[in-house]
């Protein structure tokens, strides 16, 4: 992981504001009157958008506002119901992605479109091979990749299998794919949602470099800080419509947030100082070896007290996931663990019998898992079924037969209190937006009244409004005296939510900082593995 020690000449070039663009050059993209409906859902309604060549153009909007749909239309992934697209001034019917690619458009999707068991090289040439035989394509791509890596700081090992790459590197592969196809216009859909701050910084350097080469970049993000930092222009979408396009230099995060949500949004977490009580979670010398024999946790010592939020900062892949899963009672099958876990003073078995998630719940642990769609919810289950997931054995839900009416009533209450929308407990989880899925999980885990709540990446890919709400709920739980262990790769989130911050690196705790006194630079250094306790 390359921290911020790279030469940053990109920053100097970032001054190329829109007014520097020569007017005789036609805009890179013009969208005129684009509409698209999915059955009854009007995802895009009469959208107009102009993106100038050689600029970075941001698009913001709440979950479901229609941003991805619009970009997918531009990339030929969907066909618009109405409207016209002009690329470089020329009208173009983009019937499929092949057309878009030929027109110089490349797209990095929110959910990567990589073949996980292929190498980087194979992923890059897929669909852009030179001929029927692979050997030639691979050889050329290898050379090309070396060049791109040099020109744009896009270092990845071409022979590595994608599955083995960190998310940040996977994203580089996606960008390489587009550049390999000689994209002039690069669309990135929520690229930083899964990145660590250093990774995001690196990405932005790359994007600036590309812009300075004359390429056009469209960037979708939920993070207004990023919009302010890197874009030249920004468009705001709400409920399928384009509500505004502004010059970034002449707007503010508050204005953007209000345009997006339609009301004022609190961008900062508002919380009283912590009143730490006795220790709830005590972890001593915790070690974990995964089934491949890799030591993932190398002696973790950690205490979380009642009434405080301890945030674990760290680049993803440094053992946070394993720590949460081990505490939650479901480490990867066939892992080996040693050390001690005490909750409320009582020791808990580490692994095997009596150490499954059900036992952990019985010990008073709640868990908002990192991957809400694969772990926290059953996507096909209705909201009311999901609302008891994990505590379905509880006697409250009936005797021999489950009392579904009680569960539904209870769920309706949770959805009301946690503002889960739409407020229909019979809807399957998959029909809720990501933010609302997360609210449902939080409702379930928080309302159980756990003495310890494990929280993993609570706001990944969630829009501003929902983030605000979820943060408030976590703080409220803390204020009732629960202990909270928060894992997040969002440094902003860690810093604004936690009372104490520990940094994990390579399966170890690098050190602990008080949330009030530390800063991003200090934490960033620790996250990059700087000496324990130093800085």
């Amino acid at each position: 992981m390359a921290p911020q020690d790279l030469p940053g000449n990109a920053g100097a070039a970032a001054t190329s504001a829109p007014d520097l663009v020569r007017v005789d050059v036609p805009p890179a993209i013009e969208l005129i009157g684009i509409s698209k409906a999915f059955g009854p859902v009007q995802a895009n309604r009469d959208i107009n958008l102009t993106v100038q060549r050689g600029t970075i153009h941001g698009i913001v909007g709440e979950n479901g506002a229609g941003k991805s749909t619009l970009m997918s239309i531009l990339y030929g992934f969907y066909r618009p119901d109405a409207g016209e697209i002009r690329v470089g001034g020329q009208p173009l019917t983009i019937a499929d992605s092949q057309t878009a690619i030929r027109a110089g458009i490349g797209m990095v999707f929110q959910h990567f479109k990589l073949v996980r068991n292929f190498t980087v090289l194979e992923n890059v040439i897929l669909g852009a091979e030179d001929g029927p035989w692979l050997a030639r394509s691979l050889a050329r791509a290898r050379g090309e990749l070396t060049r791109l890596a040099r020109d744009y700081e896009l270092n990845v090992d071409p022979g590595e299998v994608v599955d083995e790459l960190s998310v940040g590197h996977q994203q580089r592969v996606e960008i390489l794919k587009a550049l390999y196809r000689q994209a002039d216009i690069l669309i990135l859909d929520e690229p930083t949602g899964v990145l660590t701050p250093p990774e995001a910084d690196h990405l932005f350097r790359i994007l600036r470099g590309l812009r300075d080469e004359g390429k056009t970049i469209i960037l979708i993000t939920h993070k207004l800080r990023e919009i302010m930092e890197i874009t030249d222009n920004v468009s705001v979408m709400r409920r399928g419509e384009m509500v505004a396009t502004l010059e970034t230099a002449r707007t503010s995060p508050a204005e953007l947030a209000e345009l997006m949500v339609g009301r004022k949004v609190l961008l900062r977490v508002d919380k009283a100082p912590a009143q730490p009580g006795p220790p709830v979670l005590e972890v001593r010398d915790l070690r974990l070896i995964d089934p491949d024999g890799v030591e993932r946790l190398r002696g973790i010592d950690l205490t979380v007290r009642a009434g405080e939020i301890v945030g674990i900062a760290g680049v993803s892949g440094n053992g946070q996931t394993e720590l949460l899963e081990l505490l939650g009672g479901f480490p990867e099958v066939a892992s080996k663990a040693s050390g001690q876990i005490h909750v409320g003073g009582r020791p808990l078995p580490l692994i095997g019998r009596g150490a499954d998630a059900a036992a952990r719940r019985a010990a008073g642990i709640g868990h908002v898992p990192e991957d809400r769609q694969a772990e926290g919810l059953i996507m096909d289950f209705a909201a009311w079924e999901n609302a008891i997931f994990g505590e379905h054995r509880d006697a409250r839900w009936g005797g021999l037969l489950m009392d579904n009416d009680t569960i539904r009533r209870d769920t309706a209450g949770k959805m009301e209190r946690f503002d889960v929308r739409p407020r229909d407990c019979n809807l399957p989880a998959k029909n809720f937006s990501g933010g609302n899925q997360q609210k449902l999980i939080c409702a379930r885990e928080i309302e159980r009244g756990p003495r310890l709540l494990l929280v993993g990446q609570p706001t990944r890919g969630v829009d501003i409004g929902a983030i605000e709400f979820i943060h408030r709920q976590i703080v409220a739980l803390r204020d009732t005296g629960a202990a909270i262990l928060l894992v997040s790769v969002e440094l902003d989130e860690i810093m604004s939510l936690s009372d104490r911050i520990v940094v994990m690196f390579d399966g170890r705790i690098m050190g602990e900082r008080d949330a009030g006194t530390t800063d991003a630079t200090e934490l960033g250094l620790m996250m990059a593995g700087a000496e324990r306790g130093a800085a």
Binding site: S68, T69, S72, Y75, G76, F77, Y78, D96, S97, Q98, T99, A100, I101, M107, F109, Q110, H111, K113, L114, V115, R116, N117, F118, E122, N123, I125, L126, G127, A128, E129, G131, P132, W133, L134, A135, S137, K177, D189
Partner: protein
């Protein structure tokens, strides 16, 4: 067991494995592209029927072979329509194809030949005859290899060699060509192919058609190579064994060769030793006949880890974000 018996058993195994191997490779293409195929049995059966019928009527086995391929491809097309175009349930479609072939072959056979679903026996040019590989006789004197070459390697019908060549060919196609790259990709993550501007539908139809072709070869081999005509239900579950071999081989071509060989070898051994006496105890024929299946279970339980299928397998591709 001396060398010549071993050779005979091997020879038999080669014959028995050929239809399994062809069907297994058929499944490999289809499933590698993300289309699960439990209709191998039905496609083979249909091919056996059409190849025998046309070979009988024309007296020409090559026309029969073409018809066999055509028959299996028709079934494959149905499967493609159901599972690719109409995004239906691939398992149900496969089950339906097995039933369809089982019924149609007898129905049509009865209508044409009036023999209760059997085709008339094929003779002469309507059957495949064995080919003697060059030097088979000349090398017969060479110790060890000579007899092996003559007895086991030479003297099979052409489709056997086609089947064996299909293994390296498949490997090469899969791992060394553009088509193979895309095929493997579409079975793992169709969206990656789609966003790269390549048609998922066309790729999958291609794979399913190849599966049809290979099942056609397998069926034709059964009816016009190994036996001389069609008998109802003559595939006798080989499609399912091929499927088992495919999982066993973890969807890879060379292991597919090994897996089908193992199944065939076990069957050949059971044929050669219909009863085994273990002192006072004689294992009855019923259990010798079942030995291949029992051993399969034991091998699976003991030596083969989890088989992870192509990730996108079984799910119709729907565009999503």
């Amino acid at each position: 067991m001396n060398y010549s018996i071993a050779l005979e058993v091997l020879d038999s195994a080669v014959r028995l494995m050929t239809p399994l191997l062809l069907a297994c490779l058929a499944g490999l293409y289809s499933e590698r592209s993300g289309v699960f195929d439990i209709g191998l049995e039905g496609k083979m059966l249909m091919a056996a029927f059409t190849s025998a019928s046309v070979a009988y009527v024309t007296g020409n086995v090559w026309l029969g072979l073409a018809a066999g391929i055509g028959g299996a491809m028709a079934m494959a097309l149905v499967h493609g329509l159901a599972s690719i175009t109409f995004r239906g349930n691939q398992l149900i479609s496969g089950v339906a194809i097995n039933f369809l072939a089982s019924g149609l072959t007898v129905l049509l056979g009865q209508k044409w030949f009036g023999l209760g679903g059997r085709s008339p026996a094929l003779e002469g040019g309507a059957r495949f005859s064995p080919v003697t590989l060059p030097g088979a006789d000349a090398l017969a004197g060479v110790p060890i290899f000579g007899p092996l070459y003559r007895e086991v390697i030479s003297g099979h019908t052409p489709l056997v060699y086609v089947a064996f060549l299909a293994v390296p060919l498949t490997w090469w196609l899969l791992y060394r060509t553009r088509f193979g790259l895309r095929l493997r990709a579409v079975g793992e993550n169709p969206a990656s192919v789609d966003t790269a501007g390549v048609s998922v539908v066309r790729l999958r139809y291609g794979a399913v058609a190849i599966a049809g072709l290979l099942c056609g070869l397998a069926g034709a081999y059964l009816a016009t190579g190994l036996s001389a005509g069609f008998v109802k239900e003559m595939t006798a579950g080989r499609g399912f064994i091929a499927l088992a071999a495919l999982i066993f081989a973890k969807w890879r071509p060379w292991p597919a060769l090994g897996a089908t060989f193992l199944f065939a070898l076990l069957e050949a051994l059971a044929n050669r030793y219909p009863e085994i006496s273990l002192g006072p105890l004689t294992i009855p024929s019923m259990f010798m006949n079942t030995l291949p299946y029992i051993l399969t279970v034991i091998i699976l339980a003991g030596f083969v880890g989890r088989a992870i299928p192509p990730r996108a397998g079984g799910q119709p591709y729907v565009k999503e974000r």
